[in-house]
Structures are given as C-alpha cells and as structure tokens.
C-alpha cells in the first residue's frame, strides 16, 4: 500500500502504462507544465515531447487527431482540461470515435482514454463546473468511468488504458488532493461497482465525488441507528445493475444521489431499472437527489444552491425508512 493523492494516483497509473507500452502517449494542451491540475507533472521530462505532446488550443483537433492516431495503432490519452471544453470536440467524440468501429463493420478500434475533469470547483461558474456524465452514457460505443478515490483513479486508469474501447474518463476536480492508501497490485473490472460501506437498512447509489459525500452521510446515519449501504458505481456504462439490485433486495430501500442535474440524469436510469427489475423488493419510497435544473453561479451562496449536501442525503435515506 502506498499513500497517494487522487491526482498522484492517476499520474502513477499513466506513467506505469507508458513504461509498459510504448504505443501509449498523452496529447493535450500544456501537458509539459503538468496541465491544469498537475496530472502530467514530470511525464514530459521522462518520456519526451513526442509522447507527452503539447498541442494548440484546438479541442476538435486534439480529439480528432488522437482518434486518427488510435486507428493506426497508437493508444492516446486525451486531455480536455475541463469537461466543459470537451464540448468543442463533440462531433469528434460522438459522431466519429464512438461510431467508427460499428460503421466500418468492425474494421477499426479506438483505444483511447478521454480525460474530462468534471464537477463543482469553488467559484468556477457555469463554464467550468459541469458534470455531463449522463450525456456520454447515452452514446453507444463509449465506456464511461467516474473514479471517486485514489485507489480507483489508479486502478481504473490502468484498466482504461488497457481497454480497446474509447473510454470517457471523468475525474472530479474537487478531489485532486484527496489522500488514500493505494494497492498498486489491485486490478478492477470495468463495470463492477464498489461497495464503499456495507449496510442492511437502505441502499445509497452514487458515483464520482458525490459517492464520497454519501459515505459521510452513511457515517452520520450510523450514529442515528441507520445502517446504510453505499454503492459507488464507478462505471456508468457499463453499470453494475447486479450489485444495485442485490443490495435493494436486501434493504428494500433506495436513494440515488449525484452532483449533476437531476432531470434526465443517470439517477433516473438507476431508479427506473430498480423499479423494473426489483420493484417488488421496494418497501419504502425511492428518493433521487441531484442538482436543480438551473445553472452554476459564481457567487458562493448561489453556487451552493446547486449542491447536493450530506444533510440532504441523510434526510432522503431516513425518508425511505419512514423516519
């Protein structure tokens, strides 16, 4: 076990994979200076400017060129800086990368990791705060990952780089400094959820940094005599229906909590699936928590209006139990 921060964990994973496979390379803006959050610090010194390539501010070209390079046999790691900026490369991701293998009848692969840091990050306002994970889940062809801990940002990054599918890799900007013990020998299977806390009274499903909030809420609930099970999906496509349904069959109660907008969010997919496949097991009302369908403001009090809080998760869990 090694103590690492969330950002150090992904950097260690990238470094290890670059050492192991010379077709792995990184491409994006400012990588030689580490990029916005230090994800690439030191990598250009170690691997050179060809394999850690500094690019123009050209999101469409970063995404499109990485795709072209993937089709001829390299494995690019694409840095988009902020998920918001990745919208400048939407055609490249949605119409080209996600569809090529299918449209070309299986002739091509796009083994790419597309890093798009998401989430609220104090006073970053509407163009640097979004979490659009549900959009990507809607697009056949993509794998969608949301690591929430240093361990997962290490193990899932390695799995993503090894994956032959295009992976949309959504790190949360608010937890780059989060520390944790990392077992570098631990492999994850993409699509398997993590039971962050076992419990018997209520199932709380979440992902990304909201899952960390759910773990805190579960601690509070425990002090109140409520034993919550927290499932961190980690992967939104594919997602671990089996783990969620098994848990709901055990607890009979369900809360889904995510930071992104509730309307049309992936929480709705989780709830609908549980109702369809395990509706008979539900013994209380279902609660779904997400941001209101409004925009993230700069002023801290306004920004806070968009947050799902620990207290809201606690209240929702108690409501499912009629408390």
């Amino acid at each position: 076990m090694v103590k690492m921060t969330y950002v150090e964990a992904s950097r260690a994973a990238v470094r290890e994979m670059m050492q192991a496979d010379e077709t792995v390379w990184c491409v994006g803006e400012d990588l030689g200076r580490g990029s916005v959050f230090g994800q690439y610090l030191g990598l250009q010194d170690e691997f050179g400017t060809d394999r850690v390539a500094d690019t123009p501010i050209s999101e469409a070209a970063i995404m499109g060129a990485a795709f072209g390079a993937a089709m001829v046999g390299t494995r690019p790691i694409v840095e988009m800086r902020f998920s918001d900026f990745a919208l400048c490369a939407t055609d490249e991701l949605v119409n080209q990368i996600a569809k090529a293998r299918f449209m070309f009848g299986g002739q091509s692969r796009a083994p790419m990791v597309i890093r798009k840091p998401i989430g609220l990050w104090r006073s970053s306002a509407a163009q640097h705060s979004q979490s659009l994970e549900s959009w990507y889940v809607h697009i056949p062809g993509l794998v969608v990952l949301c690591p929430a801990t240093p361990q997962d940002n290490y193990s899932m990054m390695k799995a993503a780089i090894k994956c032959d599918d295009p992976v949309v890799y959504l790190e949360h900007k608010n937890i780059w400094g989060m520390e944790g013990e990392v077992d570098t020998s631990l492999d994850v299977t993409l699509g398997e959820a993590a039971i962050r806390r076992a419990g018997t009274d209520v199932t709380i499903v979440s992902w990304s940094d909201a899952a960390n909030l759910c773990v805190k809420a579960a601690d509070t609930l425990a002090a109140q005599g409520v034993n919550a099970e927290v499932i961190d999906l980690r992967s939104l496509w594919p997602w671990d229906k089996k783990a969620v349904i098994a848990s709901v069959r055990k607890t009979g109660r369900l809360v889904v909590a995510h930071e992104s907008v509730a309307v049309g969010g992936f929480g709705a997919e989780v709830v609908a699936t549980v109702v369809e496949q395990a509706g008979d097991a539900l013994r209380g009302p279902v609660r779904r928590l997400g941001a209101p369908r409004s925009l993230v403001a700069y002023a801290p009090n306004l920004e806070d209006k968009m947050r799902v809080t620990e207290a809201m998760i606690v209240t929702a869990a108690r409501e499912t139990l009629g408390k």
Binding site: W25, A61, A65, F67, G106
Partner: protein, 332 residues
C-alpha cells in the same frame, strides 16, 4: 520499355481507373433510381474522376486515405474491391463494412482507406492524427486526406491543417473543389482567396491544379508525394473540378445556371480529355472503347452480384459497438 511506352501505360491506367469509377457510379445511380436497391442517399462524383485517379496512383496500398461522403472514386482508386463497395451501397452482407455503413461511411482498412465521412470537414483532424500516429511509430507511410471546397469553411479545417503544420506531419491535404457546397455555390459563402491561400497562411506549401486534367493531377501529385516521403512536411493540393450531378443522386440541381453542367460535360470531361491524350499518343479509338467496355462490363456484373447478395444477419445490429458494455450482452 521506352519513356513514351511508360507514359502510354500510365495514361491508359489513368483512363481505365476513371472509366471504372464512372461505370461504378452510373451503376450505383441506376441501382438507386431504377432498381430502388440503394435505399439511402448517394453522392456521385461523376465528372470528378480525374482527381481520384490522378492522386491515388501516387499512393501505396499501405498509405492511408481518408475521404468524404463523395468518396466512391477515391476508394476504388485506392484499391478497394468494386463488388464489396456495391454490396455496401446496397446494405448487403460482404459489403466493405458489412452493410452497416453504406455509401457515406465506406471504408476498407485492407487498402488503407480509413473511412469516408458523413460530416463535412470531420476527416481533416482525423487524417492529421493518422499521420501523427504514423510519425510517432516511425513509419514511412504517408496520408492523403481529401475534402471538398465546402469543408474549408468548417473549424476542423483550421485546426487540422494547423495541427499538421506544427507537428510537421507526412500528409497531403487535397481540396477537391467541385464548386458547390451542397446546393450553394461555394464562392458565394467563402471569404478570401480560398483553399490554397488558407493553407499557405498556416505554413503549408500549396499547389493548384486542373482536377479534370488527370495527367496534370498525377504529375503534380507525384512531385508533392516525393517531397512528403522525403520528410518535407504537409502540403495542400487544390484540385479544381466540377460536380456534374446534384448534391445527391436525387437532387436535380435546378439551382445551377442553365446549361452549366451540360457545357462542362461537353467541354471539360476528364474521361474525354484523357481519351484525347491517348489518341494523340497513337492509341486507337477501338482500344479506348475497349477500356470503356471493360469497365462497363465489370460494374454491370458488380451490381448484379451485389443485388444477389443477402442482407446482413439481424444480430449484426449489435455487433462491433464496444467490448466493455457491449449491446450483445446488455442493450438496455
């Protein structure tokens, strides 16, 4: 073989390729309009064959091509099989893409053809990236990227050409200028001096050629590809041609000045011009007609064979989407 024999041989090959492209597209249009066998839109390149044939004779099978929605000619000239292509247009088993792509997404990776594209200009960044990948791997293969005159007004043109320039990539960009952006005259919506000037502004050497003179296209492309293969970096070729059909095979193109297409067909058909070149070299009319007849016979048979091929198995609707989270395992 004397130099003049060599020239005659290449001139015949260029004519034969143009005749094959023309015959393929004529059969494809018949399949669409007469037979109702091509269900989706096709975008013919009739009248533009000089660009496909003249360019592609300078590329090897393992060099990389990316093309457009109007890419049948480029794909055939890169070496793709006519029957596999026609099956693709008809959505049949054994099509280049298993019937899943159709005309606009035709691709044959076996001959380095990494895809036509349904989105104008989208192939430019992808092609730059293919060249980037080849350079990273130390390959001596090069890339040719063909797009239309409409594409130079899209952002990926700026981003992709600039990318090739700053990374000094082995790629030839070709603006195949057929003068129309769908149903709009391109010059009416384009600022400045056009494709070559824009490429030069981004640091590329740019050349303009008469795209209906297949000999000129072949000659200038030979010079350019020699420089690119020698490490000279990316270049732009602006090939001026004319789109004789509408935007799609269904489009009657009534927005064009009356008589424009007929005049071009009469005065500036790349096939007729190359026949004249060969006649000047002493090739008989009968020999030239044989080249035409062979292409016609090939493509009539290609359409008949494609039409006799079954549609793909229903299960293919779920194949080749992704490995992790595949719809074969779970589609809901």
């Amino acid at each position: 073989m004397t130099p003049s024999d060599h020239n005659t041989k290449r001139a015949r090959e260029l004519l034969a390729m143009m005749e094959r492209i023309r015959a393929f597209e004529e059969q494809a249009c018949l399949a669409a309009e007469r037979d109702k066998l091509v269900l989706g839109a096709i975008h013919p390149s009739i009248g533009q064959e000089g660009v496909a044939a003249g360019v592609m004779c300078n590329f090897n099978t393992d060099d990389i091509l990316l093309s457009t929605h109007r890419g049948h000619g480029h794909t055939l000239a890169k070496g793709a099989d006519g029957l596999a292509m026609m099956r693709e247009l008809l959505g049949r088993e054994g099509g280049c893409c298993g019937g899943k792509g159709g005309s606009m997404h035709i691709a044959d990776f076996g001959v380095g053809m990494l895809g036509a594209n349904g989105v104008v200009g989208a192939n430019i960044t992808i092609a730059a990236g293919a060249a980037h990948g080849l350079k990273l791997m130390g390959s001596d293969r090069i890339v040719v990227d063909i797009f239309g005159d409409g594409a130079i007004n899209r952002g990926p043109f700026l981003e992709g050409v600039n990318w090739a320039s700053v990374f000094d990539l082995p790629i030839l960009f070709i603006c195949e200028d057929n003068q129309y952006s769908a149903t709009t005259k391109t010059s009416s919506v384009t600022g400045g001096a056009g494709a070559a000037a824009r490429a030069e502004a981004l640091g590329l050497r740019a050349t303009t050629v008469d795209g209906n003179d297949v000999e000129a296209v072949a000659n200038v492309t030979a010079q350019i590809t020699a420089r690119i293969r020698a490490g000279g970096g990316p270049e732009m070729l602006h090939a001026i041609t004319y789109r004789r059909t509408g935007h799609t095979s269904f489009d009657l193109a009534k927005y064009r000045p009356e008589g424009e297409a007929a005049r071009i067909e009469a005065e500036n058909d790349p096939i007729a011009r190359q026949r004249a070149v060969l006649a000047n070299m002493g090739v008989s009319t009968a020999a030239l007609d044989d080249i035409n007849a062979a292409a016609q016979a090939e493509m009539v048979q290609v359409l008949a064979d494609a039409a006799a091929t079954p549609f793909p198995n229903d299960t293919m609707a779920f194949e080749d989407v992704q490995d992790i989270g595949s719809p074969v395992v779970e589609a809901y």
